[in-house]
């Protein structure tokens, strides 16, 4: 069988050595995705290679890595595409590396919590009846609800790399997902939670985040909306001192 060379980023902090690339030669199976190649290495060549994965169907968001310079879901990227090779596999950019291909992503979880990604209402309705929401009201926010938290957008984001305080594309898209949900009344709460985020204003609508999103969430679009609303909010607080209206 044909083979292909895979160059994998290796980093084991306890060994005290600098990160390095390790090359493995593996079969070029046309049905394999990059993740299958990594599992082949793990099972048959080198048990010490660490990476995250789970669903292998592009929905759990675990297996994002940088392949030949581009952040991708490795379960949704065919190996054959890179023939004759070599293929270079690295951890996502802009995150500290725990080990090998595993990044440290607790920063995102803190930021996600900060934008209050839940329905905010004064009171929850009765369990006898659903809130009504028409298909077009659903369509208003549906796209932003498709985020699988895979972190590819953070890896691609030029601002997050420079400004770690930036809430970032996925968390902002999820904030918008709730802001635009007809059942939600928490827009102002979320706006206040984001008032100290200076990073957002540096987002230049380059759109790298939207380009790499495997679920077409378009975080760049969400951020632009936020900036427009944020600017309006700021003007209102400036001009209307009693303007604490809902």
């Amino acid at each position: 069988m044909e083979t292909i060379e895979i160059e994998v980023f290796r980093y084991q902090p306890e060994k005290g050595s600098d990160p390095a690339f390790q090359t493995y030669e593996i079969p070029l199976n046309k049905d394999w995705v990059i993740l299958d190649a990594l599992n082949h290495i793990k099972d048959h060549i080198d048990g010490s290679l660490s990476f995250r994965w789970s669903c292998r169907m592009g929905v759990c968001g675990s297996c994002g890595m940088v392949v030949n310079g581009k952040p991708v879901l490795t379960c949704a990227t065919f190996l054959e595409k890179f023939a004759p090779g070599p293929v270079r596999i690295e951890p996502l950019d802009n995150f500290p590396v725990v080990r090998d291909l595993v990044i440290e992503m607790s920063d995102f979880l803190d930021k996600l919590q900060k934008v209050k990604p839940w329905i905010i209402r004064e009171e929850e309705g009765s369990t006898e009846e659903e809130y009504l929401q028409t298909p077009s009201q659903l369509a208003d926010y549906k796209q932003y609800s498709m985020c699988i938290n895979c972190m590819l957008c953070y890896s691609a984001c030029p601002v997050y790399g420079l400004e770690p305080g930036f809430t970032g594309p996925a968390a902002l898209a999820l904030a918008q997902r709730y802001n635009m949900d007809s059942r939600d009344q928490g827009n102002r709460d979320r706006m206040e939670a984001l008032s100290d985020d200076t990073g957002m204003w540096q987002c230049t609508f380059v759109g790298d985040c939207s380009a790499v999103c495997p679920k077409n969430v378009d975080p760049a679009g969400a951020i632009q909306r936020y900036k427009v609303e944020g600017a309006t909010h700021w003007w209102k607080t400036l001009l209307l001192p009693y303007g604490k209206d809902r």
Binding site: S54, M57, V98
Partner: protein, 587 residues
């Protein structure tokens, strides 16, 4: 060395749908309780995320709780406990509406009400759906909602290695922090296991890599029986090679199953007559066990197609047209395009039966309580049982809400009544920690490959304990698993690092899989009848006289599990014939 100790009132193991629903239930029941949620993956990676088709709950006027209960019970071939089913169908709509209130983006009718779709084995349309990413949306809604409770503290990427059982009750767990390789003791007044299924005991499964039966094994090792483990659901439509699920919704919207001659073969298996439009409880909308069994019969008659990854049949949705496919089952199209390189708008989808769900699990009552005080369980890892011998599609997502919530409330009540922890945990912790370190480290001098043991377990499970089983096949599999367990004691760990050592977690997972595998085989061996998903070619008939009972598998050290039985609870629906695609007296 200072020991990493934590304390909480309720500890939930597993942060998928059931675990998160349980956490919210605890927080709502008693806001003063501290809640630990420990999971080997970040919550949004949990396997609930992969569920596609939908979640069943009666909400429309033309439907009734009675119908939902009957569909569930007949679908389960009368192995479901009917008191549990009655309670389940009654609480389902409220739970689903709460999830709606929390923001789940359910698909809607034009008037803004929640839309429902048909599903296999159902008399009425009652499956709520969020396009065909229902599990994904439910999981993210639950996770994001859980973030608003300050009483919830998560241990993300901690692998639970043992339950702490002291003074006859469960008082927490030991967990490996994967990032650092450190073992932590998490003391708790009650524990809820919500770790999902164990599809990875088989080679070809829709289940994610993480579905290794960890929670089932934890309970089993603590002396709690695993119930009805012989009932393993094969979903009839998985993509060859990857095992990716093509949702039942594809058939509910009108997809056809065709053999190599382009013939809708289900008509030959007492599942009704082919009609151009989908008919409820008929043909492609028959129950999963019957459809998967029909595939094997077609295969035996040489009427399936052959591919590099096994025999297959075709699922044809082309006649639905691009618009319906894009609106109702967009994920099906996305998955086929991305993973199989075929476009279902233009081409037929190759499919074959694939291990999907464990009907069995940790034996619990309707409150989620196990036989060990302080230990509760819910979701796929548990067996209440509402699913009987074959789960009805779209009941599992609802189950994790109803019983996740109930188990959470029960645990909260239990913890509220406990004042103190026992004191002996420190020494137990030391003992377990050193045992763990000697076994799961690169210094263990082991020589057996994890991948080889796993592969051999896969082969023997598929050959001996698959869709059709016999006494001989099961005995052979049991011998194989026994010898694999011996070999596992000499498992090789080549990775000496403490940091994010996934070889150690793989070994831990394999030990759980082997325990689950032995319970599946032994329970199947003892059930000398055919019922639902459990088909014995040497005992082809259902035998209510001897086997209208749940099996209970108890762990025995250095021996096969001991199997006991307890009767199925029948309330209103005496065992009857399962009828699909034709008239029945029980309508």
């Amino acid at each position: 060395m200072s020991l990493p100790f934590h304390e909480c009132d309720v500890l939930i193991i597993g942060a998928g749908g059931a675990g998160l629903r349980a956490a919210i239930a605890v927080a709502e029941t008693n806001p003063k309780l501290s809640i630990g949620v420990v999971s080997k993956v970040y919550p949004m990676r949990s396997h609930t995320v992969s569920a596609e088709g939908g979640a069943a709950a009666v909400i429309k006027d033309d439907d009734s709780l009675e119908h939902h209960a009957y569909d569930t019970i007949s679908g389960g071939d009368w192995m479901s406990d009917q008191d549990a089913v009655e309670l389940f169908v009654k609480e389902a709509p409220k739970e689903m509406i709460r999830l709606e209130h929390w923001g789940c983006p359910w698909s809607r009718e034009d008037n803004g009400k929640v839309a429902v779709r048909p599903f296999g084995g159902m008399k009425n349309k009652r499956t709520w759906f969020a396009a065909d990413k229902t599990g994904f949306h439910m999981l993210h809604t639950l996770f994001q909602t859980s973030l608003k409770y300050s009483s919830v503290f998560r241990f993300d990427e901690y692998f639970v290695t043992d339950l702490i059982v002291e003074e006859g009750r469960c008082q927490g767990a030991l967990a490996l922090e994967i990032a650092t390789g450190t073992i932590h003791a998490i003391k708790a007044k009650s524990v809820v296991i919500c770790t999902g299924g164990a599809g990875k005991v088989f080679p070809f499964t829709t289940n994610a890599a993480i579905k290794t039966g960890d929670g089932m094994a934890l309970a089993y090792r603590a002396g709690v029986p695993l119930k009805d483990m012989e009932f393993v659901q094969y979903h009839p439509t998985g993509l060859p090679f990857t095992g990716i699920l093509i949702t039942e919704a594809a058939r509910a919207e009108g997809g056809h199953l065709l053999n190599k001659d382009g013939y809708r073969y289900l008509q030959d298996y007492d599942l009704g007559k082919p009609e151009p439009k989908p008919v409820l409880r008929s043909m492609e909308l028959g129950p999963r066990d019957r459809l998967s069994q029909a595939f094997v019969k077609e295969q035996e008659s040489g009427r399936t197609l052959q591919g590099p990854y096994g025999d297959f049949v075709h699922l044809d949705v082309r006649h639905l047209g691009a618009k319906t496919i894009n609106n109702k089952i967009p994920f099906v199209r996305e998955l086929c395009l991305k993973y199989e390189n075929i476009d279902p708008v233009k081409e037929m989808i190759p499919v074959r039966p694939v291990v999907h769900y464990m009907m069995g699990g940790i034996d619990t009552d309707i409150e989620g309580a196990t036989s060990l005080p302080g230990l509760f369980a819910a979701g796929e890892c548990a067996c209440v049982s509402i699913n009987g011998a074959n789960r009805l599609g779209s009941n599992s997502l609802t189950e994790l809400l109803v019983f996740g919530s109930r188990a959470g409330r029960s645990a909260a009540t239990f913890s509220t009544r406990q004042d103190t922890f026992s004191t002996g945990i420190g020494s137990l912790f030391e003992k377990e920690n050193s045992k763990f370190l000697s076994k799961y480290s690169a210094d263990n001098n082991g020589s057996e490959s994890i991948a080889e043991i796993r592969n051999e377990m896969h082969s023997t499970m598929e050959e001996g304990a698959g869709i059709y089983r016999t006494e001989a096949s099961l005995k052979k599999s049991m011998d194989a698993v026994k010898s694999l367990k011996v070999r596992f004691e000499n498992v090789k760990i080549s990775d000496s690092s403490k940091t994010f050592n996934t070889e150690v977690t793989s070994a831990l997972e394999l030990s759980c899989l082997l325990d689950v595998a032995e319970t599946v085989i032994q329970s199947a061996l003892h059930r000398a009848e055919s019922r639902g998903s459990h088909q014995r070619t040497d005992f082809p008939e259902r035998n209510d006289k001897d086997f209208l009972s749940h099996s209970l598998a108890y762990k025995k050290e250095d021996n096969v599990p001991e199997i006991k039985y307890k009767p199925v609870i029948i309330t209103k629906w005496p065992p009857g014939e399962r009828v699909y695609g034709r008239e029945t007296k029980q309508s």
